[in-house]
Amino acid sequence: MNIRLNGTERSVADGASVSTLVSQLTGRSIGPDGRAADGGKLGVAVARNAEVVPRSQWHATALADGDDVELVTAVQGG
């Protein structure tokens, strides 16, 4: 299936969870609580169809075809 990730079309496995997507993109293993398995901070957040998905829900939230996903992090800014 296809989703839009940060404004670009992306193909993901059917039924993939938000957690799987974040793990793929960050290259970090993510536990069921939505935290990095390595104990470090991830520093990212996810909005799905303009609603924030709390990290505690990443594991349980399955993506659907056509979802619009934004993955954001902190960058330099005044």
Binding site: G43, A47, V75, Q76
Partner: protein, 274 residues
């Protein structure tokens, strides 16, 4: 040896500024300088400037994750143990600002947010109507709102009454370096506020920051003035001292302005030359 002056009155101890923390939302910060991270050409340079400025709180923006450039800013702030104040820069509506704040809270695990809702890209001035709306919504959602606002005493008080944690009036439009265009309004905002007032935006050089503190502001927030200075590290250090100097001057109480000169040397006892 710094304990007394010649006149026998207690001197300001050299640690005076540290003993006078900036308290916001129950958190004590020893520096009254909040430094933004925007505008720095390199992360290394930014890190050095942040350290030189002595800041303990810095703003960041929330943007789309890009694998190539991730981790480093976040890591830099972790390493330096600088607290993060995410902003909602680039938001033109309350709706966008609220969603951005929610993302920041989730990503950075802080409920502090520098609320920035701007009207247009030309002026970057706050949109008062959207700002009020967003403040109300964010306070209701449990955020600690640091509201970036116009230098409008009426609006500042309204934001405070809506539950803002701090009000942050601009000195001049973002990035202009024009200093404090309406010192009278800043003084008025300070005199009526019971939450911290942070002078935010428009600072050009150290004396602007000192003036903000002399006007009674609790802290100063700036980014461009340091990150785009010819020597950001030196400028960061300059601001560190400027904020301390302005704060001490405010507490010390300046002399009144006079129309005419007032000699400080006694006229009595002068030698007479015939």
């Amino acid at each position: 040896m710094n304990e007394t002056t010649l006149a026998g009155t207690p001197a300001v101890p050299v640690t005076g500024a540290v003993a006078d923390p900036f308290v916001v939302d129950g958190v004590e910060l020893s520096s009254r300088l909040i430094m933004g991270t925007g505008g720095a050409p390199s992360l290394d340079g930014l890190g050095a400037a942040l350290v030189a400025s002595g800041t303990e709180l810095t703003t960041v923006a929330m943007r789309r994750y890009s694998p190539a450039e991730t981790g480093s800013l976040f890591q830099l702030l972790e390493d330096q143990q600088i607290r993060v104040l995410p902003n909602t820069a680039g938001c033109f509506t309350a709706k966008d600002a609220v969603l951005t704040a929610e993302l920041a809270r989730e990503a950075l695990e802080t409920d502090w947010v520098k609320l920035e809702v701007i009207a247009d890209e030309h002026t970057l001035l706050p949109d008062a109507v959207e700002l009020v709306d967003a403040t109300e919504q964010l306070v209701a959602r449990g955020f600690k709102v640091f509201a970036y606002t116009n230098d409008d005493p009426v609006l500042a008080l309204r934001l405070e009454n809506l539950g803002a944690t701090a009000v942050m009036p601009l000195g001049a439009p973002i990035g202009t370096g024009l200093g404090i265009l309406n010192p009278h309004n800043i003084e008025l905002i300070v005199s009526r506020a019971s939450v911290p007032v942070v002078l935010d935006a428009g600072i050009g050089t150290a004396s602007d920051a000192a003036l903000a503190m002399e006007l009674g502001c609790d802290a100063v927030l700036l980014a461009t003035a340091v990150t785009r200075a010819q020597n950001p590290v030196l400028m960061g250090e300059a601001f560190k001292h400027a904020v301390i100097a302005g704060r001490l001057a405010k507490k010390a109480g300046r002399i009144p302005r006079r129309e005419h000169a007032l000699a400080s040397s006694a006229m009595e006892g002068r030698a007479e030359f015939l």
